[in-house]
Symmetry: C2
Subunit: 320 residues, 2 copies
């Protein structure tokens, strides 16, 4: 990153050559095979002032899959695939104690950045915290994204009616036809409030919110008394310092709704059951998933900004 800005733009990113670094004792050299375009990084990117403790030289650090090229740790072998937080570079040195060797059943390994990684875990944990009951109706925004897609399929498997919102008919068709949601609404078309009400004839019991004002505000008039909102993400606002304008905020009071912000990392005791359920769903064929992979590190800035704008389906990744 070059500088602090209020709004991330392509000019905030730069690509520069780096020299390979030799690993010291306890470290390994990895080739970066896949980089996750995680929305939460935007906050750190925007606020970077040269003082981020983990971003010493301003190189973005994020979740990657690496292949071990050389190792000075007995815990890692050459050829191992590891999950790490590392620089957005073609290679990096990592502390063996800070990485996780991937389960060989994760194929392709990139899934460990998505459906059986933080995205899928976030979906499972967030849904678990919302205490879904069979017969309830769940509405989830960014339904074609790596979290929303899993939330909806998990909820379907638990007997809920599931309605998604997504940007564009292509995504909505994927959400309905491939993921099996009961309905998916294009949030770019008018009358979203009325269309949500029509798609949720018994009202919405759980809103799983990944986007922010546009979807949250349209959902509130359809929510049932004592509805629950799991506030998981605010993707529409990470690159926007404008106030969020909510026309229907009062419904939170009138309908005695509970809104809960949650941070996946705070619920690590739930990761094991989450991963077990996610692997089972994939093995049994009822969790479908997809990735949008862009080749070339030089394309990462544009792909990241596109992802923040909602482009792409499933987990968005860079293959350096």
């Amino acid at each position: 990153m070059r500088r602090r800005t209020d709004r991330l733009s392509i000019e905030d990113f730069m690509l520069r050559p780096v020299e390979p670094i030799a690993p010291v004792a306890g470290q390994a050299l990895i080739a970066t095979r896949m980089i996750a375009l995680d929305p939460y990084l935007a906050r750190a990117m925007k606020s970077w002032t040269g003082e981020h403790p983990d971003w010493g030289d301003g190189t973005i650090h994020g979740r990657v899959i690496g292949e071990v090229l050389a190792t000075r740790s007995p815990a890692l072998a050459v050829g191992d695939h590891v999950l790490a937080v590392a620089r957005w570079q073609a290679f990096d040195v990592v502390d063996a104690a800070q990485v996780e060797i991937l389960d060989s059943r994760i194929d392709p390994p990139s899934l460990a950045l998505g459906v059986v990684g933080r995205s899928g875990i976030t979906a499972w944990v967030g849904l678990h915290l919302a205490a879904p009951q069979s017969g309830e109706t769940l509405l989830v925004s960014a339904a074609s994204g790596p979290v929303g897609s899993v939330v909806g399929q998990l909820a379907k498997a638990r007997g809920l009616r599931v309605v998604g919102t997504a940007g564009g008919e292509e995504k909505c068709a994927y959400v309905r036809d491939t993921l099996g949601f009961d309905a998916c609404l294009d949030h770019r078309l008018p009358d979203l409030v009325e269309r949500i009400a029509a798609a949720a004839p018994h009202g919405v019991d759980i809103l799983f919110e990944n986007v922010g004002a546009p979807s949250l505000d349209a959902a509130l008039p359809a929510m049932n008394r004592h509805g629950r909102i799991q506030l998981c993400g605010l993707a529409a606002h990470y690159n926007d310092e404008q106030p969020m304008a909510l026309r229907h905020f009062k419904e939170l009071l009138y309908r005695a709704i509970t809104l809960r912000g949650f941070i996946t990392a705070e619920h690590s005791h739930l990761f094991a059951p989450a991963l077990a359920a996610l692997h089972a769903g994939i093995d049994e064929g009822w969790i479908r998933h997809s990735e949008t992979i862009v080749d070339g590190l030089e394309n990462a800035p544009a792909a990241y900004l596109d992802m923040l704008k909602g482009q792409g389906i499933g987990k968005r990744l860079i293959r350096p």
Copy 2:
């Protein structure tokens, strides 16, 4: 009420003569001694279209204290003071089954519309639901109002640090000096965000919100991780259909905050312990309270609109 409007104004109200109605079996005729200017009525006033089930002829119905003038029910005696939902009139007939005879220890009887009525109960119930712990910090908006004033005093008695916000130095002085809050901040002055942070050096654990965007938005940056927001009222917005603009909404996510809208009427099993605690606090002298009484039914519309704008201290009442 005359008509539906987006924003209540003095022209929406009219005073008209009424004829006394004789009570039938099971009813009583009451003289209205005090009328509560309850913020929640604004919603019904604004949306009245001639079809409100309880407002047949358009006369506002609200919480009142009445004195029984004539009775055709064995449950009521002439001279009884009753708590009722009745027309904003100098007299009305009420169903004996729908009213509550006031405890004679409530002196003056008007307190049954405030500190030992719905306002005090709302304060106790809302605070109870927030599970306050000794040593935590509570921030409450509309701190000189009938709910906020009691919330803060109850929280002080439970060992919390209590900070209020209110409109103007006169109210703040009352909140600090008479009610005994640790601090009270005038929300009309600039830099409220910074002043809240200074008044809550350990951060805010519980926000008890009675007002809406201006106080909620300023409080969010001071809230602790896992903070709780009891959304009790949105007084700044009842007479406003503009979107609520919240600059710091993202903090709900980043700090894993839980926001809970609650409706006092849904927690009636808590009314008895609430009233017991409120009476004890008054008898023991550590709950202080006040009323702002306006004489004359003809002054009710202006007084109601003034109340919505935040004028007056304690419970706002009309003495017909």
